[in-house]
Symmetry: C2
Subunit: 149 residues, 2 copies
Amino acid sequence: MGVSDEDLHQEVKARLGRIDQLYTRGRQALVEALVGAGTPLTLPALLEQAPDLTQSSAYRNLSMMEQAGVVRRLVHGNDHAHYELAEGLTGHHHHLICRGCGAIRDVTLDRQLERSLDVAFARIALDAGFRQATHDIDVYGICGNCAAD
Amino acid sequence: MGVSDEDLHQEVKARLGRIDQLYTRGRQALVEALVGAGTPLTLPALLEQAPDLTQSSAYRNLSMMEQAGVVRRLVHGNDHAHYELAEGLTGHHHHLICRGCGAIRDVTLDRQLERSLDVAFARIALDAGFRQATHDIDVYGICGNCAAD
DNA sequence: TTGCTTGCAAATGATTTGCACTGCT
DNA sequence: AGCAGTGCAAATCATTTGCAAGCAA
């Protein structure tokens, strides 16, 4: 996955640079794991994908990369948080989450609907005196595996 | 407030009964606090509203009432979770959340838009082999207070 | 009485942090 | 050489749980 992957790493490096951080091997490994998975991963899952990583460093780097706008942290319950690449690096999307096993997969809405939502949310935010509104939509259900009990 | 409040407590009692639980004084106090606030509360906030409650019992009762479909637990970060009455007791709504102070307030979308969303989500869930799709929308922004830094 | 609820204190578990070492630059 | 990054182990902190005592049916 030549060019687009290189572009991604270039962009990550740039974003890290903006907050004076280097794009070290460990950080690259995290980004690679997230790119490879294509779906949000928990910390244990990340460590499985990249066995060289240490737990504490992974947490530290993910947290730092969240500040840098490189990754996003998703919290949906009591268990482990999930991490994914920031939308700026991938694209606007939402999540379909299984109530049974907690698996998360990405989903998108059609343009028209997204636009309607943006309008509605902008009004809501305005009325409430909020600025910089973004939104986050989670669809919950029971996945095929879990439905089989 | 008279009738509607009594109805609410009646309904709560019924839901608890379905899982063989009593509507004890402590549980009533929790529900009262949630009704009174009209907005999702953290556990510390709940204890402030109802000083008679004990932390562990409050957690235990909230968790149990979540099973009973009486309260809903909202998780949005690393700090305390927020609790609110279940939608079956209030009505379908979403949340406007301040990135600065974490304050949450309820918001609703117009019927038409909700309907479009339901259709879209139903299709998404179906395509992914998920059942029982529900959705959860969070609008994030910076509230007036926090904008003033 | 009989058992569900409560309160207190101790345990759990994800995440964070202190500190000394290592490896880029 | 100098300093940011790492690994290990210890600390945090919301939430959960064990157990003995209280209360309700």
